[in-house]
């Protein structure tokens, strides 16, 4: 009897939504367990790290990893799984591109810590206590892991074979990705699996409603407009990022009358999702006069946070430049 493929699932810096999404494949999961052995899944199974360490290199068929790399433990674990796995899959936005926690890369870690423990109004911290890497209490050293300077997508730490997009990936996308992995007919390394080759517009029910020329004369923030639910949101001035975002979700947000915020990330031929998105948005501004262009851009309070909401950590720059040394 042939051994069933061995699958490992692991989470780094994620919110748990990816794990919930995995569970959301509900009844299909029983089918899955007939097809594979799950050898490692911290949320569901007892394990010891040594168990993984003791496996021969390459003995896990595929590891699905969600979450980005925020602390040193994350880094250590993904390196371990890389060594033990034939295939590593970055599952979900955080793992693939850092996700929303990657927005922290616009600050240094000291700023994050200082705000949380010293500055927020609810904190009462007269002695200016800050969580420390090492605290000695009664002769015992209490250690906390240190944050890395930046949150990193896992492919900045290990080599990644495939990517499953989404914050989180939907059940359908997850299932398709698993089927691809089990099909034996593997796509080229680096491919995105489970989702569409095309941008969201391809599957958006409102794509047909676009006029010949899509141009922006105004920008509206979602709370400033009650959009016509039968017309493309972008053409109504809402910053729908569907044109730049990989399809596969079935246009869930648009169906709830909210613009796409880009959680399925860039398409194959795009290097930097945020820059590409900025490019397409800027391109369709229907003004020639610099002041009018500036005025329109003024209506968009935080272009970096908006365009890089899920992909900052994987972007060309990856985060904020360090300050100039004077």
């Amino acid at each position: 009897m042939m051994d069933k493929p061995k699958i490992a699932m692991y989470w780094c810096a994620s919110c748990g939504g990816c794990e919930e999404a995995t569970v959301d494949i509900a009844e299909r999961i029983l089918e899955l367990t007939n097809l594979v052995d799950i050898v490692f899944w911290p949320i569901a199974l007892d394990f010891k790290e040594e168990d993984v360490e003791n496996l021969p290199d390459g003995s896990i068929t595929a590891s699905l990893i969600n979450g980005g790399i925020r602390v040193t433990e994350n880094e250590r674990m993904v390196k371990l799984l890389r060594a033990k796995s034939k295939i590593v899959v970055a599952y979900g936005a955080c793992s693939a591109w850092g996700g929303i926690p990657g927005l922290a890369n616009l600050y240094n870690k000291e700023e994050l810590v200082s705000l949380a423990y010293h500055e927020v109004p609810s904190v009462d911290n007269p002695k200016n206590v800050t969580p420390q890497a090492t605290t000695v209490v009664d002769g015992v050293k209490l250690e906390l892991p240190e944050l890395l300077p930046r949150l990193l997508p896992i492919d900045r730490v290990i080599s990644v074979d495939y990517y499953v997009p989404g914050c989180p990936p939907t059940a359908d996308v997850t299932w398709k990705a698993i089927q691809t992995l089990l099909s034996g007919n593997l796509p080229p390394k680096g491919s995105v699996i489970g989702a569409s080759e095309k941008a969201l517009c391809d599957e958006c029910p409102l794509n047909e409603t676009k006029p010949d020329k899509v141009l922006l004369q105004d920008l509206k923030r979602p709370h400033q407009i009650i959009p016509d639910a039968t017309k493309c949101l972008l053409t109504q001035g809402l910053l729908c990022l569907g044109p730049a975002t990989r399809g596969g979700c079935g246009a869930l947000c648009v169906k709830a009358r909210m613009p796409c915020t880009g959680c399925f990330g860039p398409l194959d031929r795009v290097t930097d999702y945020g820059a590409k998105t900025a490019s397409f948005i800027a391109s369709i501004i229907d003004f020639q006069n610099q002041d009018a262009i500036e005025d329109l851009i003024d209506k968009l309070p935080d272009p970096v946070g908006t365009f890089y909401r899920y992909t900052l950590a994987s972007s060309i720059l990856g985060g904020k430049a360090r300050d100039r040394e004077s």
């Binding site: 899509v214 044109p243 730049a244 398409l267």
Partner: protein
């Protein structure tokens, strides 16, 4: 099929032009160490026959599949080296040129070391891009040797005749019932004794009778598809209500009860609802103005040849053409009522109306008479509607109005020497070989010139007209009573130009004229290939200039037709359908209308008309999914070039 890239790098000394600054030897050695470079060499003049042979031999000897040449500007020798590698059996687009003469050696001869370092960077970047180059094939489009000329004025007629004389078919589209345009309505033209119609009539007759020219009067262009070599135009003809049996007996005109202002006389006289636009109109037939005609049927009763068909219908026809000449002309600046007394007094007239008065074929048979009386004193106010003289005026100078005004002043002095004439002007622009004589002649004829800086005024009083002007020379306010005022109006873009632009995609200047591909180097070409711009559709022109533009555009069209096919450099945008979501962002990027969304099943994808694409790449930069790419300037190619800007990535 993925070929392992094998790059050869060839660096030209250009005598001492390059080698005098750049250490070519060092750069060659550097290039040999770059990834995928299998050969690097140098030569004193790479563009010479031995230089080119060196490249060709290397291609074969080293089995190269990419070539980088570092020499002068590609505008000089890109074509040269493309042919060289083609002769060596490589696709010509597998060449990348680096301009190290103009962009490095010549400008950094004071910093030789750093110029050499920069040159290495440029080569490293070029090699990085070259590795990703792909073979491309020129695009060819067969040309339909028929020209569509839009506008039957001086420029359009000239263009049509020139083309017809060379044996090409012409469809001449004119929206009025006659060709001739504004030029046919000029009075005596400067520097000669003949009137506009006298000059133009032979050309109009030739155009009307030429076998190669098909006149479409009462017609407009309402649709256009396709691109250079093969346009499909939709031409809509409005009914004329009079057929070819018309003998111009004039009986219908006599019985017609409806009178309207005669636009051919600029409203100086009236015409009937059935009318001949002017003597010499072509085609030489009556026409019925549907806006004026009340269909009373009186004309039918008197028309012996049964030439009148009141139930005639309009029709639309498709015309296939290889090129289009836009010669839709201009219209005179029309001052708003009250500007300088215009339309407040019948003694205030425009320069165009004056032309008609002085035309022997005009409403007064060439006599200067206003309401039956001859003005003894006249003031010409110049620059009306031009140079920002009034709030409504254009910012530009229409040029022809000075000469035209002076010509008319001289004519009036000839006819009526006792007439007192004031020329109230902002600038006198009598440019060119002949026109300054007009100024001298007018001065000699005692025309009184008054220069203004502040816009003058015209008061309409019960006693007559009083021109108020601050004479900028003597710094005095003058009040000049005159019998009549002539407003030397300039030229405006036609009001219909937007309708034309909606059909033919041509850009327009801030002034509202059509924009040329280049104002100096390509003055009669639109940016889109196969579309020519003749006459005052691009800027104010006099008759001579319009004729020149007409001939020039015909020459451009002839060159196109003579070649029989169009070659397009294949660096155009292309969609990979499997990556295209049909988001439509690209469509608004294209100034040439080359991109559309087609339906594939239930879904949309973008489609590029390769003949319309001009290779700017704006849609590529905008394409949010990377589905749109520009051959020769793909994202991957340019990103590789950029990434090699410093050694750590590219080298």
């Amino acid at each position: 099929m993925i070929q392992e890239p094998r790059v050869g790098v060839y660096i030209c000394h250009c005598g001492m032009n390059i080698a005098g600054t750049i250490n070519v030897r060092e750069v060659v050695e550097y290039c040999k160490r770059l990834p995928h470079v299998v050969d690097a060499n140098e030569y004193i003049f790479m563009c010479s026959a031995p230089g080119q042979n060196l490249i060709k031999d290397s291609v074969n000897r080293c089995n190269l599949n990419r070539v980088v040449v570092a020499a002068c500007s590609p505008t000089m020798h890109e074509a040269t080296f493309r042919s060289s590698i083609r002769e060596a059996g490589l696709n010509p687009y597998l060449l990348e040129m680096v301009n190290i003469r103009e962009h490095s050696a010549w400008v950094h001869s004071h910093e030789k070391r750093r110029a050499t370092e920069k040159t290495k960077d440029l080569l490293r970047m070029a090699v990085a891009k070259a590795v990703l180059l792909e073979p491309l094939e020129d695009l060819r489009v067969e040309v339909q040797p028929t020209a569509l000329v839009l506008g039957g004025g001086a420029a359009g007629i000239r263009a049509s005749l020139d083309l017809a004389e060379r044996g090409y078919k012409v469809r001449l589209i004119e929206k009025l019932p006659t060709i001739g345009g504004k030029a046919a309505r000029l009075g005596r033209v400067a520097h000669g004794d003949r009137t506009g119609i006298e000059l133009l009539k032979p050309l109009m007759d030739s155009a009307a009778s030429n076998q190669n020219i098909l006149l479409h009067v009462n017609s407009e262009l309402v649709g256009l598809d396709g691109s250079v070599g093969y346009f499909k135009a939709r031409v809509k003809r409005s009914p004329r209500f009079v057929n070819e049996r018309c003998t111009l007996c004039d009986k219908c005109v006599q019985v017609c009860p409806v009178e309207v202002p005669n636009e051919y006389e600029f409203g100086l006289s009236k015409r009937k609802a059935i009318y001949l636009p002017f003597s010499g109109a072509r085609p030489h037939l009556m026409a019925i103005d549907p806006a004026a005609c009340n269909k009373c049927g009186e004309c039918l009763k008197v028309c012996e040849p049964n030439a009148i068909e009141l139930d005639q219908q309009g029709e639309e026809a498709e015309v296939v053409a290889g090129a289009i000449v836009l010669a839709t002309g201009y219209e005179p600046y029309d001052p708003p009522p009250g500007e300088f007394g215009y339309k407040r007094s019948d003694k205030v007239l425009t320069l165009f109306q004056l032309e008609r008065l002085l035309d022997p074929a005009g409403p007064t048979k060439g006599e200067l008479k206003l309401n039956g009386s001859r003005p003894r004193s006249l003031a010409f106010i110049m620059c009306v509607g031009s140079l920002g003289t009034t709030a409504n005026a254009h910012p530009y100078c229409s040029r022809m109005c000075c000469a035209s005004s002076l010509k008319n002043m001289i004519r009036i002095k000839e006819l009526y020497p006792d007439t007192e004439i004031y020329a109230i002007y902002k600038h006198i622009r009598t440019y060119g070989r002949h026109d300054e004589k007009l100024y001298e002649q007018a001065s000699a004829n005692l025309v009184k010139f008054v220069i203004f800086e502040k816009t003058p005024s015209v008061a309409v009083t019960p006693d007559g007209l009083i021109v108020g002007v601050h004479d900028a020379t003597i710094q005095e306010d003058l009040a000049i009573p005159v019998d009549a005022v002539v407003l030397a109006v300039g030229m405006s873009p036609t009001k219909d130009l937007d309708k034309v632009r909606a059909v033919v995609k041509v850009g327009c200047s801030p002034e509202g004229f059509l924009r040329e591909a280049h104002p100096k180097l390509r003055p009669v070409e639109a940016p889109a290939d196969g579309i020519l711009l003749a006459g005052s559709v691009t800027s104010p022109k006099n008759m001579l200039e319009s004729m020149m533009a007409g001939s020039a555009s015909a020459a451009k069209v002839s060159a196109l037709f003579a070649n029989g096919e169009v070659h397009v450099e294949p660096i155009i945008a292309q969609v990979t359908e499997e990556f295209c979501s049909g988001c439509a962002i690209c469509i608004a990027m294209c100034p040439y209308g080359a991109i559309s969304r087609k339906k594939v099943g239930e879904k949309r994808v973008a489609e590029v008309d390769s003949a319309l694409c001009k290779a700017c790449g704006a849609c590529v930069a905008a394409c949010p999914s990377g589905a749109m790419q520009q051959s020769g300037f793909k994202d991957t190619q340019l990103m590789a070039q950029i990434a090699a800007i410093s050694e750590r990535r590219g080298g």
